[in-house]
């Protein structure tokens, strides 16, 4: 009974915060509500015994992706009135996309897409172990493939943003460490009674 209570709590808050993500006037609020929605999704994962997925959701989406998201949204100079102006223009398109998603979900739920399977019974073995057991054996090839796709995306992002600018001085620590006193220091004997600068200027003039 208490599980049902928590299910409706998590699911209710998640739906409400998802609506707030779309409805909020301030984009920073939208991101904060998105984070709340992620949290409640993690709560739902815990309820079905998928604690590993729940933690992964929090670590990856809340702890890393949403931080960067918030970072970007806060930095943007957004005109709230201008954002509202486009609302009616995008409404039909949004409704179409939403309708298709609802249709697909209904088909999946009542159709045969899940093959009549229910969530597997939670076993004695921790689901981290279970997941690792299939991920690195049965699906090792797909796992590597996913890794490669991420690598390509990463290289793409870096090559898009990396640019060489002239006139920027960078600290190269290896170079600094490689400097030896013999290369950069010169000991000059200064005879007493003469001007010390003479030795230097004389050299430069030659």
């Amino acid at each position: 009974m208490i599980e049902a209570l928590f299910f409706y709590l998590f699911a209710g808050v998640m739906l409400a915060s998802s609506v707030m993500v779309v409805v909020s006037r301030n984009p920073v609020y939208s991101v904060l509500f998105l984070i709340l929605a992620f949290f409640n999704a993690a709560g739902l994962f815990v309820l079905i015994g998928a604690e590993f997925l729940a933690m992964l959701l929090v670590v990856v989406y809340v702890g890393a992706v949403a931080v960067l998201f918030l970072f970007v949204v806060m930095m943007l100079d957004i005109n709230f009135a201008e954002m509202r102006a486009g609302f009616q223009k995008y409404l039909p398109l949004g409704l179409i996309v939403g309708g298709i998603l609802v249709f697909e979900l209904v088909v999946a739920m009542y159709g045969d897409a899940f093959g009549g399977k229910t969530a597997p019974v939670v076993s004695e073995i921790a689901n981290t172990t279970r997941l690792g057991g299939v991920l690195y054996t049965k699906y090792a090839f797909l796992f590597q493939l996913a890794g490669l796709i991420l690598l390509v995306a990463m290289i793409g992002a870096i090559s898009l943003t990396l640019r060489k600018r002239a006139g920027v001085r960078r600290q190269i620590i290896a170079e600094q460490n490689a400097r030896r006193p013999a290369d950069v220091l010169e000991v000059i004997k200064v005879p007493s009674g003469k001007a010390p600068a003479a030795a230097n200027t004389g050299k430069a003039e030659e």
Binding site: F52, M55, V67, A126, G132
Partner: protein, 341 residues
């Protein structure tokens, strides 16, 4: 609806609340005395005395400070976003406390002995950045905002190498459960075979808790006080408490992962007479002392140096070490035995 309030649910709930009280109470006192210890220890390192007037050895100084903070006026800046402004310190404080649910103080002495304990700790510690970034944004002040941006970038950067270091430990322990990780160190603490990772992890925790030499988010010489410039009174105190509770949390994480948790250094007579929780606390105090020691001795990093250290040195180094550890464990046949379903 009413039946679970009167039946065993109520007893269970009461028992859990009591356990929470037993962890949070001493923790808050520890936080109070950590602030005192910090000022006294750094004082002695710099040939000063530190606060020594209020009570014997200045023992009542933290309480005097707390009273002072409570008596001050809570100022809400006119341009601030009130809801987020007030929520940020609460979030920081709450996050620094919830993580203690999975910390094992001794054999079986843990509130929630969950299977994914280390991931839970990692998740909660990665959320700490939200308090900072929300405070910086809601203050509507450029210094606070710059401090928050620095902090966000810093925490995200060092989390990556921290995650890889944790993978090293997990490879050796074969479990995500914190009690199991401690038990796996019965023969040898992981600090010995994984010494380089221990150092990387400790430095990353310094960056994660915004401590010197990585205290750029609150670099007072350039950003006044960083993300909490606009805070006063209890809202400031909550940030302060959260930060110090986080320091203790990170130290306990270091102890659990590398210094054998509640286990004595050697399983011989006078050492194994001391109860486990006491060992745990002693080790945490040792790590905390190093935190203070580092603060007293190192100058602050420059921002680009900080980023270079995180991304160009720690990340590749810990990644290579994961491969090395995995390779060694595989070749020597020491991979922990994990039964697959």
């Amino acid at each position: 609806m009413m039946d679970f309030l009167t039946h065993e649910w109520a007893v269970e709930l009461g028992w859990i609340l009591l356990q929470i009280l037993f962890v949070i109470g001493p923790l808050l006192i520890a936080v109070a005395y950590l602030t005192l210890a910090e000022r006294r220890v750094i004082g002695f390192m710099q040939l000063r005395k530190g606060p020594n007037v209020v009570g014997p050895f200045g023992m009542f100084q933290p309480f005097a400070d707390a009273l002072k903070l409570m008596a001050k006026e809570t100022i809400l800046p006119a341009g601030a976003n009130k809801v987020v402004f007030l929520f940020a310190p609460m979030l920081t404080f709450i996050l620094s406390l919830v993580a203690w649910a999975v910390i094992p103080f001794g054999e079986g002495l843990v509130i929630a002995d969950i299977n994914v304990g280390i991931l839970y700790l990692f998740a909660v510690s990665s959320l700490g950045v939200y308090g900072v970034i929300m405070a910086g944004w809601a203050s509507n002040s450029k210094y606070a905002f710059l401090g928050a941006l620095r902090s966000a970038a810093q925490m995200v950067s060092y989390e990556v190498s921290m995650g890889l270091v944790i993978i090293n430990v997990l490879l050796c322990a074969g479990s995500l459960n914190l009690s199991a990780i401690v038990e796996a160190q019965r023969d040898m603490w992981f600090a010995l075979p994984l010494l380089p990772m221990f150092v990387v992890f400790f430095i990353s925790t310094l960056a994660e808790t915004n401590r010197a030499p990585f205290d750029l988010p609150e670099g007072e010489s350039e950003l006044v006080a960083g993300y909490f410039v606009e805070y006063s009174s209890m809202s400031f105190a909550l940030f302060f408490l959260g930060e110090y509770a986080n320091m203790i949390l990170m130290s306990s994480m270091t102890v659990i992962l590398f210094l054998g948790g509640w286990l004595p250094p050697l399983d011989i007579w006078p050492l194994n007479m001391i109860p486990g929780p006491l060992w745990f606390i002693l080790k945490i105090m040792l790590v905390l002392f190093v935190f203070l020691w580092v603060r007293a001795t190192t100058p602050r990093y420059r921002y680009d140096q900080l980023m270079r250290l995180g991304w160009k040195i720690f990340l590749p180094f810990s990644l290579i070490y994961v491969v090395l550890t995995a390779g060694y464990l595989l070749v020597s046949g020491n991979l922990p035995d994990v039964s697959l379903g």
